[in-house]
């Protein structure tokens, strides 16, 4: 079952592509934290990738942190193996930690099903937005609803996001 709105963040302890191990407590100073299920191979991820990077760069100075988690089975999808994650993060100069959920336990506990799939938490780490980054994976110029950006702005201003939930659009998480 997917984490419900206003529920608390689910703890995680996962290795990052930078060699560090991250927990949710490492982001304690962030006013807003987005946990985003991600991977290398999915074309939806690739279509949204530059936008998510740009959004993190834009909001980094306002206490907003994104953390990406790849839970795909690398046996079936070798592009999603840890060394390939490291390559992708280097190539795109990811401005966020990119973590590997090898056991897939974190994805299961969040109830994540797709990549990309955003879980956005406020300063108290309650869930305030869940879904897609925006309403047009294909064309950034044709986006009409900036779901993630609007949710970040709302949470920073202590308001409710205009849309708390949207259907995640993307590839299925590749379970073992």
């Amino acid at each position: 079952m997917t984490l419900a709105m206003h529920q608390q963040i689910i703890p995680f302890t996962l290795p990052g592509v930078d060699g560090r191990t991250y927990t949710e407590a490492d982001f304690a100073q962030a006013k807003v934290l987005a946990v985003i299920f991600w991977c290398n191979h999915c074309p939806y991820v690739r279509a949204w990738e530059d936008r998510v990077i740009a959004l993190q760069r834009e909001y980094a100075g306002r206490g907003v942190r994104f953390v990406l988690i790849n839970s795909n089975d690398p046996q079936k999808y070798p592009e999603d193996a840890f060394p390939r994650m490291q390559e992708r993060a280097r190539l795109k100069a990811y401005p966020f930690p990119y973590l590997f959920d090898e056991s897939q336990e974190v994805a299961r506990r969040y109830g994540a099903t797709r990549t990309p799939e955003v879980f956005l938490f406020d300063a108290d780490r309650t869930l305030r937005y869940h879904g897609a980054p925006d309403d047009n994976f294909e064309d950034p110029r044709a986006v009409r609803q900036h779901y993630l950006r609007d949710a970040v702005e709302a949470v920073l201003a202590n308001r409710n996001p205009p849309l708390a939930q949207t259907p995640p659009r993307g590839c299925t998480i590749k379970w073992r």
């Binding site: 999915c42 074309p43 279509a47 994976f137």
Partner: protein, 113 residues
């Protein structure tokens, strides 16, 4: 004109891709037989050299051959648009080029409505 539309239901882009394909065919006035094939198993994916969902072959030729690595597995297909952006869907322009090229090749038996 014969078109194979191959898809895997684990990837959500296929309905939009099929709709886009049919719209292009209508705009171009092309009467085509579109064979919709559900690739539901790894075995079938291998047998069809399926590079990911959706895959569209016009008279047997992929609409974007250079991204059609014959992985033969159940995955989503990564296309690259004319401006280099990645996309889970072929663009209408890509489809238009493919059907026009097939129509211009008389030996393949292209038909115009």
């Amino acid at each position: 004109m014969r078109i194979d539309f191959l898809y895997w239901e684990g990837c959500p882009s296929h309905e939009e891709a099929l709709h886009r394909l049919r719209a292009v065919l209508a705009e171009e006035g092309i009467a085509a037989e579109v064979r919709v094939i559900h690739v539901g198993t790894e075995e079938l994916a291998r047998a069809l050299a399926f590079p990911g969902s959706p895959t569209i072959r016009v008279e047997g030729r992929d609409v974007q051959p250079h991204t059609a690595a014959a992985d033969g597995r159940l995955t989503c297909r990564l296309y690259f648009l004319d401006d280099g952006r990645p996309s889970p869907l072929p663009s209408a322009e890509m489809l238009r080029r493919a059907v026009r090229a097939a129509r211009a090749a008389p030996e393949r038996g292209g038909a115009t409505a």
